[in-house]
């Protein structure tokens, strides 16, 4: 299969946008409903709920915006992928949930991992040409 460079860049941009659009509204909701977010994190028995909420806002608003515009895309995608996996285990550990929530949380768990998987392919190859990274026309920092 040969994709034209424009198609590649379009797919990469639309792909980044679809992922960013999961996070940005959710992150804004965490700002406007900060207290509720903290209570939700507390209910999940996670440590330092205020700090965790602030980290969540940073990832979902700031890093997702960077993913959308494609700035330091590989590092940003890797960080968001780690965030998705942490959330899957922190909030969607379906294996010890009551039966009423089990199926819904199982979907959430596997979907979080799949979203992380898509982000990892962006972390591997970068944002494509339609991105700040590419316009700056500098090689991205070598990753390991």
């Amino acid at each position: 299969m040969t994709l034209s460079p424009a198609t590649q860049n379009l797919f990469a941009l639309v792909g980044r946008a679809l992922i960013a659009l999961l996070f940005i509204p959710s992150g804004i909701g965490k700002i406007t409903g900060f207290d509720g977010t903290v209570r939700y994190i507390t209910a999940a028995n996670l440590p330092m709920p205020e700090v965790a909420a602030a980290i969540g806002i940073f990832v979902e608003v700031v890093l997702a915006l960077l993913l959308l515009v494609g700035w330091q895309t590989r590092w940003v995608a890797l960080a968001i992928a780690v965030y998705c996996i942490v959330l899957a285990f922190g909030f969607h550990h379906y294996w010890d949930m009551p039966a009423a929530q089990l199926v819904a949380q199982k979907f959430n768990f596997y979907k979080n991992l799949a979203i992380a998987g898509g982000l990892l392919s962006i972390a591997a190859w970068g944002a494509g040409a339609w991105s700040v990274d590419s316009m700056r026309a500098r090689p991205q920092p070598a990753m390991v």
């Binding site: 299969m1 040969t2 994709l3 034209s4 460079p5 198609t7 590649q8 860049n9 379009l10 797919f11 990469a12 639309v14 792909g15 980044r16 946008a17 679809l18 992922i19 659009l21 999961l22 996070f23 509204p25 959710s26 890797l78 992928a81 819904a104 979907f107 959430n108 596997y110 979907k111 979080n112 991992l113 799949a114 979203i115 992380a116 998987g117 898509g118 982000l119 990892l120 392919s121 962006i122 972390a123 591997a124 190859w125 970068g126 494509g128 040409a129 070598a142 990753m143 390991v144």
Partner: protein, 161 residues
């Protein structure tokens, strides 16, 4: 010449590991789900019929082929870019039907909206994978390596997978 500039050209083990792990994580959503639809086929068809989809058995068979078949190919990395595009199209079709949150009772709305948005994000990841390809640690990558001498001879550096 020089097209597909980020398809496997600047490869490092860390990049290959990231993209392989990424494919595995995506396949891990689809393969068990497709398998469950196969072993519980009549229940799958009943669920599809309950959403008002015509020909529920045919739709269930397509869903099994899509999730189990394409999921396995995604993991193996065989014709990955088409497979990823096919799975993205599959998600685009099923998401409004099964997670149309604007159409459900209030009690389910939030959960369905989360599912809807997560499905779009998964579709986004599949599109990115379709754009960039599966890397060398894949059936496509091995076939590319086998064809590379031929490609170099013909001067064709485009994606052949």
């Amino acid at each position: 010449m020089g097209t597909n500039t980020y398809l496997c050209t600047d490869t490092t083990p860390s990049r290959e590991a990231l993209v392989l792990l990424g494919r595995a994580l995506m396949a891990y959503l689809f393969i068990p789900s497709g398998w469950a639809k196969l072993v519980g086929f009549s229940g799958t068809a009943a669920y599809i019929a309950s959403q008002g989809v015509p020909l529920p058995e045919v739709a269930a068979a397509i869903a099994v082929a899509g999730e189990l078949g394409l999921g396995l190919l995604l993991l193996l990395g065989w014709r990955t870019r088409w497979v990823a595009l096919g799975l993205a199209a599959f998600i685009a079709v099923i998401t409004p039907i099964f997670h149309g949150y604007w159409n459900v009772p209030d009690a389910q709305r939030m959960m369905q909206k989360i599912n809807f948005d997560k499905n779009l994000a998964i579709m986004g990841g599949l599109l990115a994978l379709s754009a960039f390809g599966p890397g060398r640690w894949s059936v496509d990558g091995m076939r590319r390596a086998a064809n590379s001498a031929e490609d170099a001879q013909s001067g064709d550096r485009g994606a052949r997978v």
